[in-house]
Symmetry: C2
Subunit: 427 residues, 2 copies
């Protein structure tokens, strides 16, 4: 059986999983692809580090040229991370006519269009299923199963760390700080959790999902971004009383044929399937004009789930090599589409305010709301501490522009402060 | 742009959806496939029937040879239903070198292996994504994304009619008969609902899912089958008190490397994602050794969701034609695997008994359980009617063989009757 030689850049968690799965499932893979996959060379940063996988017969080196300049290696798997260095190596690999599989979300979100063009020009494959939602085959599914449909919205829980923290806050009634610490102890959050908790990681994934679902390249500055570090336990509990869970959601949505992309805490009705996604799991909810509502749920990270997505890509590339059909874009759909104005983007909102406990405050709030032509379903006032009350409301639909004006005016009142203003999802 | 001529057999709900979507999304499809898809001929049963879709330029006939004998038609879409007639037409199409896309679950569950071999021999494509779970791209996902993994279990809600009935019973506290009548009025259930409510439709889908997940061809007689017509509202309410929902679940599972396939009412913990699948929706839960637990949720039927799956197949075939790569099996995985013995198949069970209300009955039950070496977590007795009590228990894990012996011995006691014995799913 003809062999295909593979070079792997990086041997961390995902890299080790890839080597392990290629070894354990060699026979099944050969029976499907008609090719024998051979890991020839692995490039690591630290040669002295102990490794947990069997590397008999594999050359391990710290010289990247051992892969990039080896003409017998047809396929390069990049699982080393970083953006600029990984980009340089992938460009070199593509220019040498090698196919590339990567799990690098930051890289693809930042340089995806550029690398895709280079791959096309070189008649090489470039696949990156593992870059979004680890073990969930969401990119492939959009390409293969929504090709004839028209996607109107993609939303999801695409960051496991923040979903773990929100689940703990919701289930155990612990504070953000306590839940974060627990996540760090369990290895679900990094020592510096900024990238996760501020929604940046989720935003990168939404950039890639937006490219697949709507055929539109956007950048981080196009994503309206709010993290979870400001989410208060009181608001989680108030949301629970109202029948909602607060989740960090990425939403990419067509509004009047314009696109709006955001990441932030959202109130999700308890009966919505996304509300049942617990702890470090991920789920992507895709709404098609024809197919309606679908959801794809699974582990968002982890050695073997992520390695499995890398393996799916490796098998796709191998089949393409075998059939002589390499050099087709992973996602071939592109469309002209504008970003939505903040006056078009309407949602109901959950607004939570800290209000000095003296007469006339509620009047000020309702005056501002009325002036901005905004109304609410529900308003409650409870005690917050000795001096302050907490006022929460669920509004009718209002535009982002309206919301921003209301927030500005409320914050200008020195006795009232906006604690939270989160989107509310319909049933 | 080169055209591909399509012939469609049948113009019911799904057929109309296919024509509608091919027309509405012609441009997007051409941009992805590089081919123009032309519906040339549609074969209908009743030429005089009014149609809701625009058929300008399409030849409509009741002569199937207008499709099967037209050498300019490269692709036949079978959405007419029936088993034997559809089989005959598909065989003729394949023998004439035409590629085939079908949504016909009964046909594929019965003659899938035979038709697949014929297609392979003729170097033709045969795709049938829409045959399982309507709008959910589950077959493709198993082929593309679990190829390097080892699936250990596929379970799911794969029949919308029964899930609608169970949801209504659970949410509204109505009886089976009332929920069925409502489903019939809304068009979710047929006048003769046997195929759905007795689990036969779900079993056909499990046959196809089993083929994809485990590479094993089975027949209807290999599926342990129980429908929902015997499910009592009292058991739904008792299950609810215990934290479960009763769902009609298909389960195909590896046990000691042997396969067990069943369809029946199952107690699903409220926190399990399958428990949140409401009304006519479907969901398939796939557990991979590497990837862990994943779930794919969406509409199980309906004109456009099902048509969308047919279109995905049409696009796949078109791409294969364009790249010259037709004639590869939809699912290329096959494995030698035995069916499990009933002594190997263990689950915890929910058992519900009707017991004549006089002393000594509980003793008889516990004697039988002890004799069969079976134990329970929980046993409750409540009043059923003037003469009878209801005893329900949740057992520890026991084998099917044990369960069958217990049921037999209990039913032999003339004062006790087994009402229900359903599997209980873990968290």
């Amino acid at each position: 059986m003809e062999a295909i030689n593979i070079g792997i850049l990086g041997l961390g968690t995902v890299g080790s999983g890839v080597v392990r799965m290629l070894t354990n499932h060699a026979e099944k893979i050969s029976s499907i692809t008609g090719r024998r996959l051979v890991v020839k060379t692995i490039v690591v940063h630290d040669l002295s580090k102990k490794r947990s996988v069997d590397m008999t017969g594999i050359k391990v080196t710290d010289d990247v040229d051992a892969v990039l300049s080896d003409p017998s290696i047809q396929l390069v798997v990049e699982v080393m991370g970083t953006v600029e260095t990984a980009k340089k190596y992938i460009e070199q690999a593509l220019k040498a006519g090698k196919h590339v599989v990567t799990a690098n979300k930051d890289l693809i979100a930042t340089y995806g269009p550029e690398l895709t063009s280079l791959a096309l020009q070189q008649k090489c494959d470039l696949y990156y299923e593992a870059s979004v939602a680890g073990g969930i085959p969401i990119l492939r599914t959009i390409v293969n199963s929504f090709a004839a449909d028209r996607i109107v919205e993609v939303k999801g829980i695409v960051n496991g760390t923040t979903n773990y923290i929100m689940t703990q806050m919701n289930q155990k009634g612990v504070s953000y700080a306590a839940a974060l610490q627990q996540a760090q102890e369990l290895g679900f959050a990094e020592a510096d959790p900024t990238n996760d908790v501020e929604g940046i990681d989720a935003a990168y994934k939404m950039i890639i999902l937006t490219q697949f679902a709507f055929g539109k390249d956007i950048t981080l500055s196009n994503v309206k971004l709010e993290g979870i570090s400001g989410v208060k336990l009181e608001d989680i509990e108030e949301a629970k009383r109202l029948g909602y869970k607060i989740k960090l959601l990425g939403i990419s949505k067509l509004i009047n044929e314009h696109l709006d992309v955001s990441v932030g805490p959202v109130l999700v009705p308890r009966s919505q399937p996304l509300a049942t996604v617990q702890n470090e799991n991920n789920a992507v909810f895709v709404t098609g004009a024809a197919v309606g509502e679908t959801m794809f749920y699974g582990p968002g990270a982890g050695e073997l789930p992520t390695a499995n997505s890398v393996l799916s890509d490796i098998i796709t590339v191998t089949k393409n090599i075998a059939m002589g059909t390499t050099g087709v874009r992973f996602n071939d759909y592109s469309a002209q589409i504008k970003l939505a104005e903040s006056s078009e983007v309407v949602y109901p909102y959950y607004i939570s305010l800290k209000v000095l406990d003296k007469p006339g405050q509620m009047l000020k709030i309702t005056e501002i709301m009325t002036k901005e032509n905004a109304s609410f379903n529900l308003i409650t006032q409870t005690e917050l501490d000795e001096k302050n009350a907490r006022v929460t409301m669920v509004t009718h639909e209002m535009s982002e522009a309206q919301l921003n004006r209301i927030k500005e005016q409320i914050n200008a009142v020195d006795t009232i402060e906006v604690i939270a203003a989160y989107k509310v999802l319909g049933e």
